[in-house]
């Protein structure tokens, strides 16, 4: 170490006279020592950026997907035109989403949205030029919520609440008889969907109906015929097609990136009391409001068997087959719609279902574990639905092709198959990394989602809540309602029209019957009957 020259900083010394210019130059060079390092860094950074971009573009080019990230422009709705007067039948949880989609909000929800940071996005939602002029609910509390929502001056899209009266109707028949209602939105328990849709279609009122459309074949046929003969615009409540992701997925399917698809796996993975439709207690464990005085129970029951009123039955009706078809009707309908909108699979040739009540052993009819297999021999394809309410491991929604598989939820990812023939060369060349997705789109990346409960998260992960367009979260239900309203104003057929609703209705009824009857159920396409 002794021979090491000693470097000293003694500022005083630096002002020493002897060889002044050489010293100065040396000091300058030392001062700028960082420049070559930064130069090298800049060179490497540029090279890295170029490499990443080229690699991405090469993969996208290879797959013919260059335009997939093109910005989405939403066509403006026909907000001008005539004010559309809407009646809402059933003002529970789902109707709140409908009202929000229409641009109306309950005063209490303004505060809620402020807290979870979703108010701004909602206020930016486009005005659809509609008025909620009628509310019909058998429960006074819900009806009052509906009226308060329809009258609230806080509106999305800077709209003004129209200065026309909002009426409460005691029965849906009264609402349908009113000439001052142009269209109705049905968000009642499922056993009312078909009868109300039929009655509305017969008097020429447009219908937006929540799934499921019908509980048996007869109801489904009635609804189909009534809508077909009426000329009304019918939309079933399957908002998933409105997600940006969905439009990209359509492109992926059209370009045959997955190869021959022989298996589509759809799932439900929930593990909470709320997710299993136990919802009659509030956060403190007390029964939620409502009794026979405030609820018109006979009207709620409709044509179903007469049973005494309980808060359990009123709030947890999904558990009972008298009012719906279990997870098939509540959740699989969305899965079927997603697959049907993409692949146009239609009605299956046969369905086999199996399952049971293995965990939530209460008074339910609904199985908490369920598997349904839908056969499409003409399409060389099977659609699988695997559902559990007692484990929340996310299993996604997967389209399995010979060359790659695609997972689709609130984002899309496509992964090449290890045994792919088409992508073999690219995998070998390192262009396609087979261990992870070769292409993925996540428009919500870096955006905080405001969903809080496990059930909400489930729906969000399946692309059923919001979609991100140009950095803004847009409610897909709003887009779905907008499509319906645009069709009412300008003509055209919405995506979840009566044909799709019929196909879905039949597929679901086949699955439900298979579960009930413990046998393979077939579709007779000639006589259009389930056998």
């Amino acid at each position: 170490m002794a021979q090491d020259k000693e470097k000293t900083i003694k500022p005083e010394e630096k002002n020493e006279p002897a060889p002044k210019t050489a010293n100065k130059r040396r000091t300058l060079i030392k001062a700028l020592a960082g420049i070559p390092v930064l130069g090298l860094f800049a060179y490497k950074l540029a090279a890295k950026t170029r490499y990443d971009l080229e690699k991405k573009n090469r993969v996208l080019k290879e797959l013919d997907l260059q335009n997939i990230e093109a910005p989405v422009i939403l066509p403006s709705s026909g907000a001008k035109g005539k004010l559309l007067r809407i009646g809402i039948i059933g003002f529970g949880v789902r109707a709140v989403a409908h009202a929000n989609g229409l641009g109306y909000i309950h005063p209490n929800d303004v505060e809620k949205r402020k807290k979870n940071d979703t108010l701004e996005d909602w206020l930016a939602q486009e005005d659809l030029n509609v008025a909620i002029t009628g509310i019909c609910d058998v429960f006074d509390l819900h009806a009052e919520n509906g009226l308060a929502t329809a009258r609230n001056p806080v509106r999305a899209g800077g709209a003004k609440t129209p200065d026309i009266p909002v009426e409460r109707y005691r029965t849906y028949q009264e609402m349908l008889d009113d000439k001052n209602i142009d269209a109705v939105m049905i968000a009642t328990p499922d056993h009312h969907h078909a009868p109300i849709s039929v009655a509305a279609a017969r008097v020429g009122k447009h219908v937006y109906c929540e799934k499921s459309i019908a509980l048996n074949e007869e109801e489904l046929n009635d609804a189909y015929v009534a809508v077909k003969n009426s000329g009304i615009v019918f939309q079933l409540g399957h908002q998933i097609t409105q997600s940006v992701i969905f439009k990209q997925t359509k492109d992926i399917i059209k370009k045959d990136i997955l190869g021959k698809i022989t298996l589509v796996e759809t799932t439900t993975n929930r593990n909470s009391a709320d997710g299993a439709w136990i919802r009659h207690l509030d956060a403190n464990g007390n029964p939620k409001p409502g009794d026979e005085k405030s609820i018109d129970w006979p009207q709620w029951l409709g044509s179903t068997p007469v049973v005494p009123f309980t808060t359990n039955r009123y709030y947890n009706w999904q558990k009972f087959f008298a009012y719906e078809t279990g997870m098939i009707g509540q959740l699989f309908t969305h899965e079927f719609d997603a697959v049907n909108q993409l692949l146009r699979i239609g009605i299956p040739k046969a369905v086999v279902s199996s399952g049971g009540i293995y965990y939530w052993k209460d008074d339910r009819d609904m199985p908490d574990t369920l598997h349904c297999v839908f056969e499409y021999p003409d399409r060389d394809m099977t659609l699988l639905y695997s559902a559990t309410l007692a484990n929340s491991r996310s299993r996604g929604r997967v389209f399995m092709g010979r060359e790659a598989f695609m997972e689709m939820g609130s984002s899309i990812s496509i992964t090449a198959d290890a045994e792919s023939i088409r992508y073999k060369k690219q995998i070998e060349a390192g262009l396609i990394d087979q261990s992870g997705p070769m292409v993925s789109f996540n428009p919500t990346l870096g955006k905080i989602d405001a969903v809080s409960s496990a059930t909400e998260k489930y729906f969000a992960a399946r692309g059923l809540t919001t979609t991100t367009i140009n950095g803004r979260a847009i409610d897909v239900t709003h887009l779905h309602i907008k499509e319906w309203i645009d069709c009412i104003r300008k003509g055209g057929t919405p995506s979840a029209n009566i044909e799709r609703a019929f196909e879905e209705g039949i597929a679901c009824l086949m699955a439900h019957r298979s579960y009930l009857e413990h046998r393979r159920i077939e579709w007779d396409p000639v006589n259009k009957k389930i056998v």
Binding site: M1, D4, K5, E6, K7, T8, I9, K10, P11, E12, K14, T27, K30, A31, L32, A33, G34, I35, V37, L38, F41, L45, T49, D52, D117, L445, G446, K447, I448
Partner: protein, 167 residues
């Protein structure tokens, strides 16, 4: 009294090289956040454990605050990286870099019992590379080289000039 620091050539060389390397790393960490579309500290904050978990949750609950954190993170890293490479305001850059890295470390420290969804690239028990890099920056702050190799030469000269005038 003026402080006088003396380094041997190997000492000076290794210290300057260490400064360049850490500067390079932090500069690229910053730039990569600029280059990744929609990058956000969201996922890292969601993984936050131990004493800063509450703070992370608070940030996550406020969209605007998250944007501020993202901005400070990205441009803070770039500024620190440039400071270390250029040898400009190096003491400030080293100390802020050390604190920032310590913050990262404390967000997900590899302590027994704290488990993370995102796997690490190595195996750590209490000590991680982030902690080491943080301490290395403290070393650079304690053994400053920027007034020998770096733009701080000029800062120093300016300070001396001003001091001389006062005297």
């Amino acid at each position: 009294m003026k402080e006088t620091k003396t380094f041997t050539t190997p000492q000076l060389t290794t210290l300057v090289v260490l400064r360049f390397l850490i500067g390079w790393h932090l500069l690229y960490e910053g730039f990569s956040k600029v280059l990744i579309p929609n990058w956000s500290s969201l996922e890292v904050l969601q993984e936050s454990k131990w004493i800063l978990a509450g703070f992370a949750r608070y940030i996550l609950a406020h969209d605007n605050l998250l944007n501020v954190v993202d901005f400070l993170n990205t441009w803070g890293l770039i500024a620190i990286g440039l400071g270390l490479i250029f040898g400009l305001f190096t003491r400030l850059a080293s100390i802020s870099g050390a604190l920032l890295l310590l913050l990262y470390y404390l967000n997900n420290p590899p302590f027994i019992g704290l488990e993370y969804l995102v796997p690490t690239e190595g195996n750590y028990l209490v000590v991680s590379k982030t902690l080491i890099e943080s301490v290395a920056l403290v070393v650079l702050a304690v053994f400053p080289t920027s007034s020998i190799f770096g733009l701080d030469i000029f800062i120093e000269k300016y300070k001396n000039l001003r001091n001389n005038r006062k005297e």
